[in-house]
Symmetry: C2
Subunit: 668 residues, 2 copies
């Protein structure tokens, strides 16, 4: 590290300190401690082009310790990304591009949204899985067009989170050698010293996972540089470099204290820090010209790197035109023409079929034409039916179309986010609906980033049966539907399932596909409305003309509603049955359509779903009713449990009659 | 292991196999593989009395691999718990005491509900924390009245889950030497071999956490016995015994196969297994007399152990009468008289106060009189304000009233469940509301078990400000409110916060206490209704007589509703403002009370909460409106974010006027 290097490092530090101080909010300590490692990484190793943050050949950089956001913003501004000094000065203000924690899509160059600890760490593992899959699929001898490294700076908090532990175990298992993680071992957390709660041997733990582990002085730039070089050379194992640092390095009174974690240093301490580091007291946001010039050289270097990559890609395209065209299309997020040509239509005469089984058939029908569709399961493949059959499971030594995430739902959720972020992938992960609870942190971030991530959640109600209350979802649908941007799709039969997949692949939005364990009849679309109605979220399935009563249901309960409607119709009530696989898509429809499905004049409305009733009141109102399940389930055969807890046509009819009576609606 | 021992082991195996076969559902493989380790543990080490499953001096046994439930049910029946053979024969049937996974409260002798993997493992750590705290508080020289060991059988799936990794790190940090865990290393998961996804060095990982690690042949009873003895002797570190076993041991064709994990063996294979193990083919559920006699000797042994413990307790009581009385009261779940005498009343003239700060003052006011109140935070003590001030943090070497759970929300959630299950503790854990997502798995189990667990969730809306969308909760309140048995309390000011704590301690129910980061005015109860209304969930805070319009709100938004009401009242509208800190408690009130608060005749209803609108439609209906937040937040100072996203008195008034107009309600 020469004098210019030191100047550059202090530029990062002081820009971060000044921005936090101006905002009177933020985390100055981490950027100050991480500045050396980040500088060395960005200056000597990270392959990127600030002028084109979306260049597919770039390395990825993740700041898993997202509270150190000013570190990233400083680097982005200094190296020439589209992030002006004015934006730095507006750190943490409304509508700035410099929010409290890095946000993908808002901050140019932020590869993922971080802040909730552990997520960035695990998301990076997903990026490396995507890198492996695409490289296995498309690289050819002499043509290594895809070889991005995934760099990450992570913190004590990241390493304490279970999601990171799960992801680290998975990364070690898969031998993801393109991962190079720098661990900011500053020994300070919000509560104080890590001695309070975190005294395990971190390096040894990562060795146990199968990682390549190095220990360095994180304030020694040359040592960090050498360690990164060694980590890059280790391609068979992921690498972690334990960098001993000091939070708020440079601050005479706050270095190594928890006080520097989440609060501005204070004006006086900012002054003392600048004095201590030989930095001019004024102006704030001072950037020495020679430092800026050195950082901005990244633009030329990045342009040259991208150009070299493009030439390599052209050479690849010359030798492998079909592969290159397919890869380009995939990286551009385009679907191949006719990708959906083999999606089956399920005849009603086929008999009953679980929607999870129908889903599995659709996945296997489209997979050959759609290499971007790539995912796995959390040790439930025989149950969730998401495996691409006849394709191997990815291992450290062998390529594979299926990922065995292990019993690691949270890491799976973060990893599929990373797979989507990497690009070229339409990722999916699967588990039981009840275990969506384990991955809420990741589901939320995927939704926040509006990623095209598919979560396949099977075993969706008490209808799963004997496994009992621990496995029977109740509140999960309400919880998922409450997440902004999340589309929940709960198809009523095999053909709605096929339509759901068609919509999912086309729309590219964060989606939870919710499926049954148990068999369901295939609805006779010769009599009932077409399954394509799913695309509008809710549609009139049965019942012509002006209804006395509307029954609205989703998934397996649509069949109950149909049966109850038959009973009620026999009594002279005009009943409309609405299949409502997605409340979110229904809300997006024009009012005219919504009113045509749910006529405002009809107050007799009963919703039916074997789950928490909360999401349905919006549609049935004070006059209506919800045949829901606001208690935990029961261990019994599925049909027995359903009956015992009121999910019978008779009970639905009884509850509907009560609504009709209360409203004085006379059956005609 | 003599012949009788082998007979007993096979009795466990075949009872399990027969029950699964009869149910045509369940997991036979794990009980067959775990039978030796479980038998040795229960026969030679576990201190318990089947006639009194609640004896406080007992050791605890947790079957973290809950899918092996028939192992536990076999042991419970055989050793003489109140679980008849008829119940075994009704395995997984409606209303049996033998559900698919062990359920606390339903199955006599089940110490916790297990099934979702990792939970039992982490819950045991909480039991050991409770044991440490009570022992530190009440044991005296020569009087070790509390020295229970916590035993657990766990599986590959448990060890893969992040919640177990977090808990293991915490247990190592705290040196919880009373933990003795037996890991069923059978190398088979649902997807197949653990080679597919789980190839880390497990033993080494636990060494890194600071555990005492042993490796044994799990089918060698004497080796398991010696290892347990060694583990008990190691009191400074938690112990894990890696027991190499074979799933479905005894089944000639299904041993070591994933097919034996989650499906009955099948009639033919049951026959072959019995033949292979020298077991009579008929009758099913056969229990040899000599095996039963040996198992049932546990009753005498247990009675003697309990009697010895009771004598020791009496000797303790003679020397330390005050401590013994306090401990007994605490173990009985009684509150000391006058426990709430020091709960502060907050005068409106004190100015604004964050509800998290008010909560901290209440905790510190009651803690000295209420030693049962014991908990900690997930590395956010300075923010959540839950620390008992002046009391140390528990460490491996020192007692402490506060637990630093570290950045491990999920383990914290499971640990507080374990603390409640152990008894004598009213446990709490705290973090930001948004990170409740990380601990949903544990929150759900606590609710399912109806445990008196308090989750303190602060920073409850976009009002937290600059940290931005990653930290601003949106869907969390809806998600928590959808969990059966969970009471969500979101107080509107300092005095509602005090009332909330009073209710929480008295009620002993699973509760989420949701608090603000930002200051809120203290409502003037001389003008407004008393804060004790919180106990009914929702109450009329302001507005006399028959209203034209009802505004219903919770937490910080109550102040918005009050301000909007003032504006509307000035325009001649009669407005009622309802503070609704708990929708769950409100639903529990008699209809008469509910109608008196929310008169059915008033259709002009507007709910206000800076969170997902989903929970409120039940109360406002199709004619009403919800001023909610169905999008992610924004990084900006809290007040700015609130205003930008529509949480102003003006906007509430505007939305209310629209409702009044739509309904044609004329202001008088």
């Amino acid at each position: 590290m020469n004098q210019l290097d030191e100047l550059c490092v202090n530029t990062i530090r002081m820009l971060s300190v000044d921005a936090v101080q101006q905002a009177k909010s933020g985390h100055p300590g981490a950027p100050m401690g991480q500045a050396v490692m980040a500088y060395v990484l960005w200056d000597r190793h990270l392959r990127h082009n600030p002028a084109n943050p979306k260049w597919p050949g770039r390395d990825r950089f993740i700041l898993s310790s997202g509270h150190a956001s000013m570190l990233l913003y400083s680097l982005l501004h200094l190296t020439g990304y589209d992030l002006s000094l004015d934006e730095i000065k507006r750190f943490r203000q409304l509508d700035s591009k410099t929010p409290g924690h890095p946000e993908y899509g808002l901050v140019p160059g932020a590869e993922t949204t971080t802040g909730p600890l552990g997520q960035g760490f695990a998301t990076g593992v997903g990026m490396a899985i995507a890198q492996r899959y695409l490289a296995d699929t498309y690289n050819r001898p002499g043509h290594t067009v895809l070889d991005s490294a995934i760099y990450c700076i992570c913190s004590d908090g990241d390493l304490m989170e279970g999601v990171a532990s799960e992801a680290a175990s998975l990364a070690g298992h898969l031998g993801l050698g393109r991962l190079v993680y720098l661990y900011d071992d500053n020994r300070i957390t919000i509560d104080g010293s890590t001695e309070l709660a975190f005294t395990e041997d971190r390096g040894k733990r990562f060795e146990a996972y199968g990682w390549h582990v190095q220990h360095v002085d994180g304030l020694d730039g040359e040592a960090v540089d050498a360690a990164i070089t060694a980590a890059k050379a280790e391609t068979a194992r992921p690498s972690i470099i334990v960098c001993r640092t000091h939070i708020a390095y440079g601050s005479p009174n706050k270095v190594d204290t928890a006080g520097a974690h989440g609060s501005p240093l204070g004006e006086e301490e900012v002054r003392l820090t600048k004095e201590n580091l030989g930095w001019p007291a004024e102006p704030p946001f001072y950037i020495p010209d020679e430092a800026l010039a050195h950082f901005r050289a990244t633009l030329d270097r990045g342009a040259a790197e991208e150009a070299a990559w493009s030439r390599a890609f052209e050479a690849y395209a010359a030798d492998y035109p079909a592969e290159a065209a397919a890869l380009r299309q995939q990286l551009d997020g385009q679907r191949p023409a006719g990708w959906d040509a083999d999606i089956p239509v399920f005849p009603a005469t086929d008999g009953a079929l679980a929607t999870r089984v129908a889903s599995g058939r659709v996945i296997n029908a489209v997979a050959p034409r759609l290499p971007a569709l790539f995912g796995g399961d959390a040790d439930l493949a025989p149950s969730t039916e998401t495996a691409v059959k006849g394709s191997p499971v990815m291992s450290a030594s062998e390529p594979g179309r299926n990922v065995a995430f292990g019993v690691r739902e949270h890491a799976m959720g973060a990893a599929v986010n990373g797979m989507a972020l990497y690009g070229g992938i339409i990722p999916y992960g699967s588990t039981f609906l009840v275990f969506s609870d384990y991955m809420r942190g990741a589901l939320r971030l995927g939704a926040l980033m509006e990623l095209p991530v598919i979560s396949v959640f099977t075993h969706d109600t008490i209808g799963l049966g004997e496994d009992g209350p621990t496995h029977q979802p109740i509140e999960q649908l309400a919880g998922l539907r409450a997440i902004p941007h999340m589309v929940v799709l709960r198809p009523a039969d095999a053909n709605e399932t096929a339509e759901a997949w068609r919509w999912i692949i086309e729309a590219g939005r964060p989606t939870s596909l919710v499926l049954t364990r148990q068999n369901l009849p295939i609805l006779d679309r010769g009599v009932l409305a077409p399954a394509a109605g799913l695309r509008r979220g809710a549609y009139v399935l049965a019942g012509e003309g002006d209804p006395d009563l509307v029954l609205i249901a989703a998934g397996s309960e649509v069949h109950l509603a149909l049966a109850a409607a038959e009973t009620l119709a026999a009594e002279g009530t005009k009943v409309r049955v609405i299949s409502a696989p997605s409340l979110e898509l229904f809300r997006e429809q024009p009012r005219e359509y919504r009113d045509s499905v749910l006529p405002p004049s009809v107050k007799a409305r009963v919703a039916v779903e074997a789950a928490a009733s909360q999401p349905w009141w919006e549609f049935v109102g004070l006059d209506g009713d919800v045949v829901g399940l606001d208690r935990f389930g029961a261990s019994a055969p599925g049909a027995v449990a359903m009956k015992a807890l009121g999910f019978t046509p008779e009970n639905v009819a009884t509850r509907a009659r009560a609504v009709l009576d209360r409203l004085g609606v006379v059956a005609r």
